[in-house]
Symmetry: D2
Subunit: 161 residues, 4 copies
Amino acid sequence: MIQVFVTGGTFDKEYNFITGELYFEDTHLKEMFERGRCSLDVDVKTLMMLDSLEMTDADRGIIVHNCVRCDDDKIIITHGTDTMVETAKALANAGIQKTIVLTGAMVPYAFGTSSDGFFNLGSALAFVQTREPGVYIVMNGRCFPWDKVRKNRSTGFFEDL
Amino acid sequence: MIQVFVTGGTFDKEYNFITGELYFEDTHLKEMFERGRCSLDVDVKTLMMLDSLEMTDADRGIIVHNCVRCDDDKIIITHGTDTMVETAKALANAGIQKTIVLTGAMVPYAFGTSSDGFFNLGSALAFVQTREPGVYIVMNGRCFPWDKVRKNRSTGFFEDL
Amino acid sequence: MIQVFVTGGTFDKEYNFITGELYFEDTHLKEMFERGRCSLDVDVKTLMMLDSLEMTDADRGIIVHNCVRCDDDKIIITHGTDTMVETAKALANAGIQKTIVLTGAMVPYAFGTSSDGFFNLGSALAFVQTREPGVYIVMNGRCFPWDKVRKNRSTGFFEDL
Amino acid sequence: MIQVFVTGGTFDKEYNFITGELYFEDTHLKEMFERGRCSLDVDVKTLMMLDSLEMTDADRGIIVHNCVRCDDDKIIITHGTDTMVETAKALANAGIQKTIVLTGAMVPYAFGTSSDGFFNLGSALAFVQTREPGVYIVMNGRCFPWDKVRKNRSTGFFEDL
């Protein structure tokens, strides 16, 4: 079985037509796996719904705790891209013997045919099945070991460190 | 570099609003890699645009030939799902020492937010980077060795043989 | 109040991923009015779900009957484009003193960002509020009196007769 | 002929995946008329690309000026909803003998299947063809005379004054 932990990020943001701002409602992960006609045994659990710039050490503690205690050894975490590497580091420092893949999106899934989220989820699901235990970031069709990647803030792409 | 060969299939079908039937125009693969913000070196080449039920041995010969002669050892083939396993077998019989992943879609990419194609492409791209040389089918979030899978015609899912 | 009668047509067709053919499930009309943030009092009633090429005189009798007996004097009918003019004629012959607007789509609403259906519905809703009693066809941003229009089968556009 | 003046508003906003904010690029109006398969003679001209909260009296002067001098007597203006009524008032005060319809959207057209913009455009196009000279606001499937409407900021709906 594959465990999916939802933490928010652009991936799951919605447009508030009253304020014109982005916000969180429910995650789209379950409908995405259905639309992708995924036949794997996947369990989706929402841990929090946060913009990753607002994520604290306590929040990261919750993510680590859940990764430690869950029964599965294949874990996907959806996460905002801005501090994805930071959370990956917290997970790596915890020394968990599982394959943990963090992924996200640059455009909200709810924004239809411009979002990269559905593609990234397909990649994350594949990499979590094939990589050795460790912490990885899956974006842009690639799988980066957590300590060999950074987000380029001006281009929005993840790059080798 | 990753070589992508387009052969048609539901993946790339369009709706003809005059006749109400499905047909082929240009492939969507390039725009899909762009939307997925893929930063890998991917080359997309259209070999044919066929419904896989209409694919002949000669067509399969063209696919095999192109896989043999291309320089890259990682190949993704987009293909109709109905005879995907048959083409996989033809490729396997050719004994090519490359990682070849066939993928497709149950709903055309052009049909917007109901298509599984973008998800499958993300998975295919990930599996082609991680699997040993061989011929595989990537559908439903899974990667099947070519000789251990069949399409269940009544459910539309690929299953272990 | 505005009465909406659903009869099927391309408007409400879905893609069957098993057979690759189009078919009918439930109408999308209610979600369309919601998405359009329509604040008018609209009642949606499904009379039938038919490809208009398969519509019989008996089916047209049902449509006429419902238009006659409904309490509202503003009626929108969603209908396949191929025989829309024929149904309009049957309605006109019944001499109903109401404003009846037939509309449809060339691309199914379910096919996402390529469908004209949502635009046509917005037009139909506006024209039904402003036109004198009579039978009209609303397509391509225009409102045609029922006896001054035909569908051009090669272009898919409705034209002045 | 129908003249369409683009002034910006939520209608034409895009999502900036680097900053996570909304911004303007090119208008979507032309592709929307094409997708709507509109066969009317429509001319689209972009006057400005502004969030309507940032629109000044000078900007409104430009809109009035263009409505006065254009040759057509049917005009659609796409506009942010927040100050749509204010611009309508400026147009009414100019005493132009043309049918002027302001419309907009609560969700950007670029956000796919959740936007009301395409529906509103269909309605605006219909109302501009049928209403007497005057200034109107078309939202929520309705056509309001400019001096009998206000936007309810908490619900996002336009209401009778």
